[in-house]
Symmetry: C2
Subunit: 149 residues, 2 copies
């Protein structure tokens, strides 16, 4: 039988796909069924520990109408043979919005098991209002819009 998630990146892709689909079964398939898994949602409650608590947390999240899209950016990976930590910033876009409407800072942890890589920790927290500036803003370059000098 093939392993479900062959790499931490595969597990991460499955996590975000499950989130996007608000699919509780798919979400809980990504998580390791273990008493020491930990999930922290961005709203700031206590950490949820263990499979039943994590499941209940996602049940509450998926009970709301989310209608948002998450995209993980600026990912930093620390990967060893059995454990992988991915940190980054989730860019939230709401349907109808033209730009990024929110940023969540996130740390995702995956563990290698006999049945492939599974999520064991997720820590999300409110991030900055604006995305990283990828290039110098136009005004710093002395420009205005697309004008040339």
């Amino acid at each position: 039988m093939p392993q479900r998630y062959a790499t931490p990146d595969e597990a991460e892709a499955a996590y975000y796909a499950a989130f996007q689909a608000a699919d509780l079964d798919a979400m809980m398939d990504v998580w390791l069924e273990h008493p020491d898994i930990v999930c922290m949602h961005p709203v700031g409650g206590h950490l949820l520990r263990g499979y039943p608590a994590v499941l209940e947390g996602w049940l509450h999240v998926f009970a709301r109408e989310l209608d948002i899209k998450l995209e993980l950016k600026h990912v930093v990976r620390t990967v060893t043979a059995d454990l992988a930590v991915h940190s980054g910033e989730e860019h939230i876009t709401r349907s109808g919005d033209t730009g990024v409407s929110g940023i969540i800072r996130v740390t995702n942890v995956y563990q290698r098991t006999l049945d492939g890589w599974r999520m064991v920790q997720h820590h999300a927290s409110p991030g900055p209002r604006e995305p990283h500036v990828e290039a110098p803003p136009d005004f710093l370059a002395g420009g205005g819009g697309n004008r040339t000098h």
Copy 2:
């Protein structure tokens, strides 16, 4: 030469001691000097990546008069041969306060190196207002103070 931190717990103790002492040198000795270390302070800015950015972040933190005590509670450890993830809740007490004055949710990541265990990630975020209830409150038991029935 003995390794500086023989276990993730030793590195963690050194981290909190450095924080308590507002000692930048001791703090940066705990961190691995690597371009992929990540630090997220609870205030919600962008993630700080790499040794120089992490150092600058702590410089800003220690420039303020903190006068607080942090105690890590409810720690959940996921430890493998080379990487350790500790999650928990930091209880903040301000000098003069009788109880916990704030809670920070935290994920600390340590990596084993040739020179012992070092911190490679720290993600802190605002937590709940009240600590976990460790035992049923007195009123639920029908009691009042230390009276017996």
